[in-house]
Symmetry: none
Subunit: 228 residues, 2 copies
DNA sequence: AGCCATTGAAACAAAACTGTCACAAAACTG
DNA sequence: CAGTTTTGTGACAGTTTTGTTTCAATGGCT
């Protein structure tokens, strides 16, 4: 499924231009020239990024931005704002309000494309491909981050390697020795029971109250993460 | 050295008029009425901006534009296109192809000057798009300035390069060695811990009280810049 | 020369993380 | 069910890693 982008721009010609270009790049584009309608459209189906003209009719872009940031569901959507070159004041307020990037008019479509792509890669590594997923758990090897249900988790270095090791081998039972070899290194002379302790620490770190434990203990054999 | 401008216009009278005006403004002007020749001239010596008539003989302006955008070396040169008033269709296509601005004939030389100047101003300090943005932090590589929330910050040379390095690689964990290679140079024999010290100096410089620290420490791995 | 900003390193402090133990709890065995 | 084996937990002391301060060296500038 292609990333969805919402264009909010009341200059019809420019709006069409952007839509055309973004579509050509493979994005799923919707557009509107009205701030109110933009908010509705976002609520109806959240896009992966928003291109927002700062000077639109009815609702100022800055207000649209603020509204979006206020709602938990939409707060993390990347926003690129379009400003006229002289609107220095707006630019600053825009960044303060939570826009993620800005482009000053006039601009080349090429430039905007590049910005949008950069933002998407930054905010949604999963759209870029690299990212390990298991159920509602996401692990990003590049940024060393782990989230569950969208919420960031903090893992120590060993827990991180351990989780990664498990997700990469989801569905298989892993013996303590295998785990030691894979996570600590083949030549480690560490007690097997130490694995137990780290499994516990990992469980503690990823299971918020109410969550189901994705790690299954296999008595007399080891541990496993099950496919759903 | 004065900014160089290439005028591509086959109406001899108009071409002279533009050349005369631009020269008077202190620009270093070259001109041609032929699309093929224009491409050669650009390749020979890249101008800082191009004024391009959409309706020239031989090669259509749109094609010249496309050619220029295709080559990495010329892709970022600002282009102002000149169109007849009724050529609405061309205007759209022109912008799609990558022109940065347009002026419809007939126009006043004064107006064109203003547009060119605006484009150059934009492309000089930072090519307008070269401004690196991360959250509310702006870094202008050309003018060597950094701002956060609109407020100017003072960074030493190393801190500047460090911040730039991070913003350009936002979202990835960077090891101390990578940072040394990228910021100090591949052949530096500097202690890895020195990175820590500069990270601290950078943090001190960009985090005003109340700000959130954009630099995340990844234990046993390095540092990373993240949203939030 | 004198002053000031910058820089890399060293040293110490503060955190964060690790591996083991000892014991409790749970799961098997016959 | 009593005995055995295996796993879960909490505590802890030692290590590793990172944060911070300090300092001497360097180099630009006046």
């Amino acid at each position: 499924m292609n990333p969805g982008i919402l264009v909010v721009e009341d200059d019809k010609a420019l709006c069409d231009l952007l839509t055309w270009n973004l579509s050509a790049e493979g994005y799923d584009v919707r557009s509107t020239g009205d701030g109110e309608e933009a908010l509705l459209m976002v609520r109806e189906q959240a896009p992966d990024a928003i291109i927002l003209d700062w000077m639109i009719e009815q609702v100022p872009g800055i207000e649209v931005c603020r509204q979006l940031r206020k709602d938990r569901d939409t707060a993390r959507i990347p926003i690129v704002m379009l400003t006229a070159k002289s609107e220095e004041e707006d630019r600053i307020r825009g960044l303060k309000t939570g826009a993620d990037d800005y482009v000053t008019k006039p601009f080349s479509p090429r430039e905007l494309m590049a910005r949008v792509e950069a933002l998407l890669r930054r905010s949604q590594p999963s759209l870029a491909g690299d990212m390990l997923v298991f159920g509602d758990i996401e692990l990003d090897p590049a940024s060393h981050r782990v989230r569950r249900g969208g919420e960031a988790l903090h893992l120590g270095p060993t827990e991180f390697r351990l989780l990664r090791y498990f997700i990469e081998r989801a569905g298989r039972v892993l013996s303590r020795q295998q785990i030691l070899d894979g996570v600590w290194g083949m030549d480690s002379d560490i007690d097997e029971r130490t694995v137990d302790v780290h499994i516990r620490r990992l469980r503690k770190a990823i299971n918020r109250p109410g969550d189901t434990d994705p790690i299954r203990t296999v008595r007399a054999a080891g541990y496993a993460m099950d496919d759903e």
